[in-house]
Symmetry: C2
Subunit: 324 residues, 2 copies
Amino acid sequence: MSSASRNSVTVVLDWGTSGFHAFLVDPEGSLVDAKKGAQGIQSVPKGEHGRVLSDALAAWRNEHGPLAIVAAGMIGSRNGWLEMPYVPTPATAADFAAASRTIELPEGDRLMFLPGLTDPSAFPFPDVMRGEETQLVGFGLEQDIVVVLPGTHSKWAEIRHGRIERFRTFVTGEIFNTLANHSFLAKVATAEGDHASAAFAEGVALARDESGRAGGLLTRLFAVRTGWLAGKITPEEMKSRLSGLIVGWEFAEARAGGWFNEGDTIAVVGDDGLVEVYEAVSKAFGVNLAPAPADAAIRGALAISEYDLRSRGREGSGRSYQRA
Amino acid sequence: MSSASRNSVTVVLDWGTSGFHAFLVDPEGSLVDAKKGAQGIQSVPKGEHGRVLSDALAAWRNEHGPLAIVAAGMIGSRNGWLEMPYVPTPATAADFAAASRTIELPEGDRLMFLPGLTDPSAFPFPDVMRGEETQLVGFGLEQDIVVVLPGTHSKWAEIRHGRIERFRTFVTGEIFNTLANHSFLAKVATAEGDHASAAFAEGVALARDESGRAGGLLTRLFAVRTGWLAGKITPEEMKSRLSGLIVGWEFAEARAGGWFNEGDTIAVVGDDGLVEVYEAVSKAFGVNLAPAPADAAIRGALAISEYDLRSRGREGSGRSYQRA
């Protein structure tokens, strides 16, 4: 089937809770076109995902014929389209390809679901990621390095000997968002967080220099309020200060957990403004930065789908469309 | 003025954001009656607090004549009735009396506002409390001991040489509430936290035993999700587990901050179900418990008002009613 080979275009699909992004990539790996949709993966009733996706990609199918689609992330979660397994660490790109699953859609498109990644060594329960493993493959598994993937549930991963060796999740974005919108701060703060502000940098410095002193995160967080009461933090600065403190705390915890030492080189991988923020915080912690592509997710999906093609041959897996 | 002396009854008023509690106490310090009101201190327009309070206490005034009222806590905050100063640590009951302020209400009642307490030694900004200092006085400042006051913003205070020596705030309840109601947990969890459950105890044990291992609070919190994904934590158990982890983390931070060592004796002071919870967690951390009265807030308000009477004499301060 030519639709599944790299003689034709490939669609890389990122379908999460807040909508989907689809990227049309030519056989050389260059981005040709992109589409966005507002319908979140969980808002589509079970059994309707195929129709919604087929409709959304109709124009590309009309132009290029049946499409080869590769999808990672939340689409394969328990509340997504169909639940994909987690591959255990240490894992290679070939491991992800082997655990993928391809279905045929009503209009003839073939959709390859990529698995997630689990780290069974995490304490007290195996840690999990969905989507970031594909970004790691897109970043490249050749060099031994620690990679940070910022987000609501930020990930720190170690690449070693061509494999993703281990990783840990930090709920940084989640803590910031819930506190910024629903805590004592919400009524007082008059501006969103500004990562370029002095207040942000001060929060980072506090976490960097003082996380080892008497006092952990639960007590340090109150300083955003006491700083305001003391007239040292303005309502405009509060969320910036909070953001700097929490992102800085992620780095302080990662440092204490052995993920990096001052002077090490790490990489920050992502496709949004958080990359720049995390790079600035990395520098504040005395860490050097390796270059990283902004389209790691697309590169990774393509790379894994090529492994799949090689192992399965150009006839595809022969699996038929299933309503999941 | 007999209304301000302890020959008559005293009203202890706790007027916070979610309503007020008023306690009628006889000259011997025994509780005679109590009233609740649903109107939060911030929902009353400036200038209207006196009328609202006078109306609420009309029946007591009719029976006992003009009332002597003592109020601590949020009523004296920036968003309360009138903003009271913070007395700096180290502080005695007499210091609170000296910094209090008494106004006369339209119906002849006299209302004594108690100040808050600030710890200028806190890093990076002076820490603050409003109301808990009165509970500490009610608990008693005679013995050298560390006292925990559980709450949305939990306080650890050291009593030494008859004074409140220092204290720190932990945003334990705030973090639990925002995460329980607004995070990844909120959609999955099917029950409120149960402090008597095994899941709560497991969360406490994790904080107690593992807070020193690689991994801080930001990464440990994710374990409530991964435990669910791994089938080790049920949706019913999630909030209990979260609660145990966060309260346990407060103790782990307090231990790391030098507030207690295993084998020490501390006291837990409060007037709600959290006291029992914190006492159980104290035991889990190997700490002995000193007895504490459930009515520390009332005892403290009375004790401070007596200092005030002694220093001002039975004629009162002579200050007239002011609309603040």
